[in-house]
Amino acid sequence: MSEFLIDVRAVHRRYDGGNVKALRGVDLSIRNGEFIAIVGPSGCGKSSLLQLLGALDDPDEGEVLFRSESLRTLADPSGFRAKNIGFVFQSFHLLPTLSAVENVQMPMFEMPWSATERRKRAEALLHSVGLDHRLHHLPRKLSGGERQRVAVARSLANEPQVLLADEPTGNLDSESAAQILELLDEIHGRRGMTLIVVTHDMNVANCAGRIVRMKDGRIIADNSTASPPCGS
């Protein structure tokens, strides 16, 4: 058994019939409980890498291992995501017809929990992100920062081991961005989750214990940092 939770081995990913080379031989090993920021210019392959880590996509070459098991061989990638991965997206990706508390319950349908338990868990999660007063609001009635907090609560719904965040502060004003950053840092610290954040925002990256820099589909630097307090 590898000492790493996630092992990315010589991964290539091409789009548009091979014309666009998003990833060109990426190797990356991630330990359980790490907080990693993946940074780099637009189109450098950050989001493509994140999708492979979350089993939303398959590499053209190489493989991604989760606890030494290749994600390519998963019989049920959705089930794997339901149990192990939480996603936070730049555009929140909440379901518009469902209230905050209902959105948070959506991943829980894959767990053996009753409707009452789902509801209690969702309320507790929204409480933990400071949204007690917004439980029954539809996404369109929430501010950007509040929507992203709902999305963070939803990503924690099934108590995953890994949280993947793709530009989580990209659509937020600086105040809301700082709140989300603080929230993610707190979740990482309190829950001991593995947190992988793709970002342009160096305030976010500086919170991470490790910064992976990418360019043209390759990792060009991988540095551990003495993580300062978030938002400083």
């Binding site: 017809t97 209902e102 894959e110």
Partner: protein
């Protein structure tokens, strides 16, 4: 939150489209209910007539499936009476005629003293005599023709006097005119001929005995056959045409309904590709996505089925009350009909929803997430 909450929220979100789909399904199901009720009712009303008369077997020419077959020699009746197990035989001559302003009515000529008269209830007047140009009217035909006892009725070139009004348990008889057999034979230029014998068997003859009698008649009388009441009604060409038309109309309505349903569900899936991507990303398994889309389709079709059944029911009641059709149709609004309507709606939901649901559930999550 329950899984079904997600389904209803999805449907309610596109309420106009959902409503239009329900209307489309409802029209299809209403057509099926109304046409089938009328076709089944037509058969039921003929079966009802034979049952009301207490007819065990009806004997006619084998080749004829018409409700008013070609006439044959009345003397066959004497031979039938001699068969073992036969209690009584009634000779009938039946025709379908346009009468005065009415587009068409069943006219019976029945042998005087035959058992077929027994079940009729005379409301006023008296029964027609064999040697007089007179007839009795059913309650509905009297109302439709606007006649009463003593009125004159023109049949072809002959004028008949209404000598009484009767009531029967069978709609087809209530909407008919009945005269004595000799008068009917003269009127239709079929002197000495009939087109049916109705047979009653002895009380000690069981089901197997009736079947054996059918076989004997078929063997002994070349070109003849003996039908049970239900067989005769279902073999009747009129009933068969009504049923075929009912099915043809229903099929068209169902195909239109299924295409409408498929279109709605497909549109809904394509519009929600991004959301399906989100659901896949947060861990929903493909079968759950399939189930969600299929349940939406089923919810629409079952609601359409309920609304369509009510519309179909009201349509049959309304049609039966129109002056044009009053007394001529009798919808069979039985529980079986509504069970069939439910199954039809269920079939529409599955047929219209399965393929879009399958397509929706097969999307690659990263591709679906890119749709906005």
């Amino acid at each position: 939150m329950w899984f079904i909450t997600v389904i209803f929220k999805n449907l309610f979100r596109r309420r106009v489209r959902s409503l239009l789909t329900v209307v489309g399904i409802a029209v299809g199901v209403a057509a099926v209910v109304a046409m089938t009720a009328i076709a089944w009712g037509f058969e039921k009303s003929w079966t009802g007539a034979y049952n009301a008369r207490g007819t065990d077997l009806a004997v006619t020419k084998t080749a004829s499936k018409s409700p008013t077959p070609q006439g044959f020699d009345q003397s066959v009746g004497d031979e039938l009476k001699k068969l073992p197990g036969v209690k009584s035989v009634s000779a009938l001559l039946t025709s379908f005629m346009g009468i005065e302003e009415s587009p068409g009515m069943v006219v019976f000529g029945w042998e005087s003293g035959g058992f077929v008269w027994d079940h009729l209830k005379l409301i006023e007047g008296r029964w027609p005599a064999s040697d007089q140009k007179e007839l009795v009217l059913g309650t509905i035909s009297a109302e439709l023709l606007g006649k009463q006892t003593g009125s004159k009725v023109q049949l072809d070139v002959s004028e008949f006097t209404v000598c009484g009004i009767f009531e029967s348990a069978a709609l087809v008889e209530n909407g008919s005119l009945i005269m004595a057999l000799p008068q009917m034979q003269k009127l239709t230029e079929n002197v000495g001929k009939v087109n049916f014998f109705n047979l009653r068997v002895n009380p000690d003859v069981d089901e197997a005995g009736v079947t054996a009698l059918q076989k004997t008649i078929k063997e002994k009388f070349a070109g003849f056959n003996a039908f049970r009441a239900s067989e005769l009604a279902s073999n009747n060409t009129g009933v068969q045409v009504a049923k075929a038309m009912g099915w043809a109309t229903s099929l068209i309505a169902l195909v239109v309904g299924a295409i409408g349903m498929m279109n709605t569900v497909f549109m809904s899936v394509f519009e929600r590709m991004h959301e399906i991507g989100i659901l896949l990303a947060i861990g929903w398994r493909r079968y759950r996505i399939l189930l969600m889309i299929l349940c939406e389709s089923l919810a629409l079709s079952l609601l359409g089925g309920v609304v369509g059944s009510v519309i179909g029911y009201l349509a049959v009641i309304g049609l039966q009350a129109t002056p044009m059709l009053r007394g001529r149709i009798e919808g069979d609004l039985s529980p079986q009909l509504f069970l069939m309507a439910f199954l039809v709606a269920l079939g529409l939901g599955i047929l219209g929803g399965l393929y879009p649901a399958w397509r929706g559930s097969r999307m690659a999550p990263n591709t679906a997430l890119r749709y906005e």
